[in-house]
Subunit: 470 residues, 2 copies
């Protein structure tokens, strides 16, 4: 499975980036077999997959060509959000719970879910690593691996930063119960109740819930659905509200899928340095890039330890293991102390298991497979949405992750659609849960992390009808 998917992914990338143009002939199966030392079956499988995705078409007795009519696509949203610029205390948590609670049942079509399909992860192999770690466990680990966490795991994480040229020492890293604890600890370390915190608009609802719980004031900053937060608007907000921190997702933002270009990330960190503001960088989708290169995190441009880079293995390797971390820069000690008084420590066997898995290799191979699967699913969903949804709908095309953001036609009501969809056994994540002012009434986050099977396709058709009717 790996080989043909890898080949299909590579060719899809070449098509998307214009190396092969619409109507051009792809290398023949025979050529490709010889050049790549692959079997004909593998190459055929790759071409079939590309055909299924609508990227190539076969012409009898002639070979494979880049599709001249690429799959139907709806336009992308192009308008940045326009929040009012005020700061406010929050009361969104109850709405978020109401919506999210309804998405937690296994028998719903999980378009509103925050998680990709667990079947995409190497859980059996991880399980064997966990089994070996558990059986060989040195009892003293339960004492030695107290916060900041298992030294071997922190070293492995540090090495992964280094591959991207980012210097993060192992002793700057604190292991946490998933990224969410890392983010919560970060907010607690750099703010006091009443402080202003800048967030994207729309933004991840858990950020709003954390600000609400900590008595902080949220300032929503205009955000472009493809390029992320607007730096001019961010500077204006800084001058007006003197915030203590920004909580941002510069890469594959939740819910938009937006990614700030690297120069913008660099400028962001420089701007925050001038005003001495901490950046809490939520980077949990970083590994899920469809292109060859990852987009560097803002942390890569941090010169004075002001970026608290939060991530985890939950979305890219080990769902349910609850192993995350924060590369905490100058806030390292504060974070470790908050962790010690909050949850004391993180599950030791799981830390050892992930360290062992990373040591033994195979992570890159898994990631390539996962990225290819998510890219394929995204293409299939985009195609199905174009087929089933009415004109006037816009949809993003993120370069990674597993969320699409839809803008429904003016006058639509995403919260109403969410309730109607539930009656059809479909969960949704409606726009208002991503906003301090319950804006984005026509917005919708759609999870494409689950295969587009018949049930999902039928669910999209149902949604299309509901949207058209409204």
């Amino acid at each position: 499975m790996t080989r043909y998917r890898a080949l299909a992914d590579e060719l899809a990338h070449s098509i998307r980036t214009g190396v092969f143009r619409p109507g051009e002939r792809l290398p023949s199966v025979r050529q490709t077999c010889a050049a790549r030392r692959l079997s004909p079956a593998t190459v055929f499988q790759a071409y079939y997959l590309l055909e299924e995705q609508g990227l190539v078409e076969s012409r009898p007795r002639s070979g494979y060509y880049v599709a001249s009519h690429p799959p139907a696509r709806l336009p992308e949203p192009e308008t940045p959000s326009r929040p009012d610029g005020d700061s406010r205390t929050l009361d969104v948590s109850a709405l978020v719970f109401e919506v999210q609670q309804s998405a937690m049942y296994r028998d719903l079509v999980p378009f509103g879910s925050a998680f990709p399909s667990p079947l995409l992860f190497p859980l059996p192999r991880l399980g064997r690593a966990l089994a070996a770690s558990a059986v060989e466990l040195d009892p003293w680990c339960t004492v030695d691996d107290l916060t900041p966490g298992h030294a071997g795991l922190r070293r492995q994480i540090s090495q992964r930063y280094l591959v991207d040229g980012i210097a993060v020492a192992a002793d700057e890293i604190v292991i946490t119960n998933g990224a969410l604890e890392a983010l919560n600890l970060s907010i607690a370390a750099v703010t006091r109740p009443g402080d202003a915190v800048l967030v994207e608009s729309p933004c991840f609802y858990a950020a709003l819930q954390t600000l609400e719980r900590n008595g902080l004031r949220a300032v929503e900053v205009p955000t472009h659905p493809r390029d992320g937060v607007d730096l001019d608007a961010l500077e204006t907000a800084i001058k007006r509200h003197a915030p203590r921190a920004c909580w941002l997702m510069p890469t594959f933002q939740n819910p938009l899928g937006a990614t700030m270009p690297e120069p913008a990330k660099r400028a962001l960190v420089e701007l925050l340095a001038v005003h001495d503001i901490a950046l809490i960088e939520d980077d949990v989708y970083a590994e899920l890039h469809f292109g060859r290169e990852r987009s560097l995190p803002a942390k890569a441009f941090d010169r004075d330890g002001r970026v608290l880079h939060c991530s985890s293995f939950s979305k890219c390797l080990a769902p349910g293991y609850r192993i995350g971390w924060v590369a905490a820069g100058r806030h390292r000690q504060a974070i470790a102390r908050l962790k010690l008084t909050g949850t004391l420590n993180t599950n030791v066997p799981a830390q050892l298991a992930i360290a062992r898995y990373l040591e033994r290799g195979g992570y890159e191979r898994h990631l390539r497979r996962l990225r290819a699967a998510l890219a394929t699913q995204q293409a299939q969903y985009l195609d199905a949405i174009a087929r089933h949804f009415p004109e006037g709908v816009r949809v993003t095309r993120p370069q990674g992750g597993y969320f699409l953001w839809l803008e429904l036609p003016p006058g639509s009501d995403a919260l109403r659609l969410h309730r109607q969809a539930l009656e059809h056994g479909i969960s949704l994540a409606p726009g208002p849960i991503f906003s301090a002012r319950r804006e984005f009434g026509t917005g919708l986050r759609l999870n494409v992390g689950h295969p587009l099977d018949e049930r999902a396709d039928a669910a999209l058709r149902t949604l299309g009808v509901l949207v058209a009717r409204a």
Copy 2:
């Protein structure tokens, strides 16, 4: 090992409770072998152990007798604490960190540690349960077992309550990252910044740290070193400060080891019901009772869901697994929501592993062994302390857990002793870290959860010299 320890434990209990009195002859080895269907080797081993503990003496050609001069004992502390009755915001956290950080090295004699020896736990057998759970993991568990947690584990915990006649439904239980998260969630659920919270005096330093972090005011209530918190004083404090919650450890209190008699626990819950105050009950040492019967928790007397009963498997079964829970009564939904926005979920394979371990049986056998080991160690430490420490020292004799509380002679300085001891490679938990006002300058919590080997005995001798010199 099990059998002779069990026999020794039973005989030690009979001696301590006066069934056999000083100077009386114990049943002969032959009688005991026949009555218990044990081998002579097993019975001899039990008698040797009791001899080592100073509880029995052998008389040549006559048999074993209850020691006529029972092991030397220092007097118990008898005076309840006398806090000033005021409420105050806190700034003890830095001191606690300074002291606790110094205790985290494996090569120190761990008298200041909060953990018992990890060698006391069935980590290999647990590891096999974890291995089986990990390898057989249903991928959808990572979604289904989201907070409040794995249904099978919550059912097992509910059944354990039922054995003691306590009705706690599985759906009242929220699984947490150890008891500390349970306690933190409980405080967050029932208080707002500025509220007063009643605590024991002295009390567990993590309680003080949590109150400090949440901007709460601590009111320390007089506490007896054997019988726990003083209910009259508690009522006075309620009337004066109108607290929102009490955070108490009614059983094997940390650091005193005190246990409130059951009628006092009942009266406590009734008193709190009259004033509509929540009880956060930290009950992590409950399973570590030396006597045959456990002391019921205050939760047993809860009629209206006001007790948040917090516990974990960290001190009795699975250190490092970070599996705790809160039986949250009427605060169940609030707790689950705080957990969802705080750490989202608890490690799924560990939840499954503990559920599997509990299902397969063997937990009771492990607990009997653990209790016997801790009881034996306590007796050995008490004996060694009596030999090595000067007159004027008092020491508690808790009926469970693995802490002793020492009161040094007037004028001693436990913080200074802690620093001196560190230079000798010995960690200590000095009294002031258990107090909002850094009181208990002559108090010392001593961990007896590690075997009294030669190094530990030498360390006690060193401490005795340092105390005598001061």
